[in-house]
Symmetry: C2
Subunit: 267 residues, 2 copies
């Protein structure tokens, strides 16, 4: 069957794809945009369901792997269409697109669906705003093998195109759950997981805490840190030592420092 090539910005499928840049549209349709060769490949590995694949071979970056993935996608069950360079660049949310874009189904896990290891390590982030930070945190969660990332009252959803980009596609490898702080607190209690709130308002350095038991690390928002709920309901409060001013660390950097200390202690 010959593949369609779309060359009009007015095409309905093009407009629909473009609309998925907006959270409202993603929520309404239960669909999101997955862009990039590596991201698409990792998404497929991670079991993401796609409903429409859009390619622009003219923009492919890697002679061999790009063509191999193209052939694999054309042989798959999801419909594939081609876009002209102009139309692809219109749909893309990247500065330097690589010719791979898919419309995929969003998904939600609940806390009860999480499968935990013997000595769980959970990461809980509250009301994060910046997609780049959430993406960085997802990559660190993957690298350190956390059991799951729990998003409390998220301002930015994991299907935000910039989160996917910043996470280098890892967003689909780390189990993520959206939950309220009180749901999360009840879950941790039921599972006997200790919660560690990171906050500047404590003398307890993270180096001196023990993470040998099941642990959940709580990181607050960029602007306001953790909410009163978690400051009150967490089992322990910890902070990173600071040579500079109190607010000097980026939340993604702070998360990496804490998680790697846990990895070190648990070796």
């Amino acid at each position: 069957m010959p593949l369609t090539t779309i060359d009009s910005l007015q095409n309905a499928r093009v407009k629909r794809a473009k609309g998925l840049m907006q959270k409202r549209q993603r929520d309404r349709e239960g669909l999101f945009l997955l862009e990039g060769e590596r991201e698409l490949e990792r998404g497929i590995e991670g079991g993401i369901e796609s409903t429409q694949i859009m390619l622009c071979p003219e923009l492919f970056k890697h002679a061999e792997t790009s063509l191999a993935l193209k052939d694999k996608l054309i042989d798959g069950t999801t419909p594939v269409i081609f876009l002209t360079k102009q139309v692809f660049e219109h749909c893309s949310y990247r500065e330097n697109p690589d010719g791979f874009l898919a419309i995929c189904k969003t998904f939600n896990r609940s806390l009860d669906e999480l499968v935990l290891s013997n000595n769980p390590l959970l990461l809980i982030v509250e009301s994060l705003e910046k997609p780049g930070n959430l993406g960085t945190i997802l990559r660190t969660a993957d690298a350190t093998g956390v059991d799951a990332l729990i998003l409390n009252d998220p301002i930015t959803d994991i299907f935000n195109p910039n989160v996917i980009r910043a996470s280098a596609g890892v967003v689909f490898k780390v189990p993520t759950v959206v939950a309220t702080p009180s749901e999360t607190h009840a879950y941790l209690k039921a599972k006997q997981i200790l919660s560690f709130a990171t906050t500047p308002d404590t003398d307890q350095l993270h180096f001196d805490a023990s993470f040998s038991n099941p642990s959940a690390i709580l990181m607050g928002s960029e602007k306001d840190g953790l909410s009163g709920f978690w400051i009150q309901h967490s089992d322990y409060k910890i902070r990173l030592p600071m040579a500079g001013q109190a607010d000097s660390l980026n939340v993604g950097a702070a998360t990496a420092a804490v998680l790697y200390e846990i990895i070190r202690q648990r070796r």
Copy 2:
């Protein structure tokens, strides 16, 4: 003396300020834009010289501190002008500007000007591209008290508006130097500072390295990691343990994990 209010986008000073968003213009004029109340305050503390201050009180975010800083600036030696909201937003590189903007003089330190502590810790980053990563790294360098950040063959300069924003103004607190890899290597040898290259191509985990002596940590670019020069000329190679795929960490997150391990060992 009554202060001028500029209400035209065609004003020469407005056009000149706007031009400083470009690296070429910054290099040519030796000037850069410093935006934001906190950044301006930290810049002044850090001894940054400004040549023109531009304010828009209508956009101020903090009733008390913003007005206090405004009064302090007006009493200072740098000329102050007011911009209308429309003109300020035109000159601003932020989504939600806070009414403070200054044109400041760029500066350069050389390696020989660095003042090192008794047991120096240096951070060297090579050809970093993303302003957000450089900003995050500057904040971590400040938090962990590194002696200096050395930028090898930088693609992004520290005067890039987005570096300043991402660094939360800390860019002026951490001594930074631009140098080539070979200049840096000669400097480390002369000062008897051990160099640690972070690379996935080693079995040596950073946890097992000893950073008790004068140390320099080398971080490579987002895309390509460290250059062949540093892989060949560094004293040690280290890597972070990875549960996920090899390239899963963001460079800012990896830097934080390594620097905090050094802080832990040196306590």
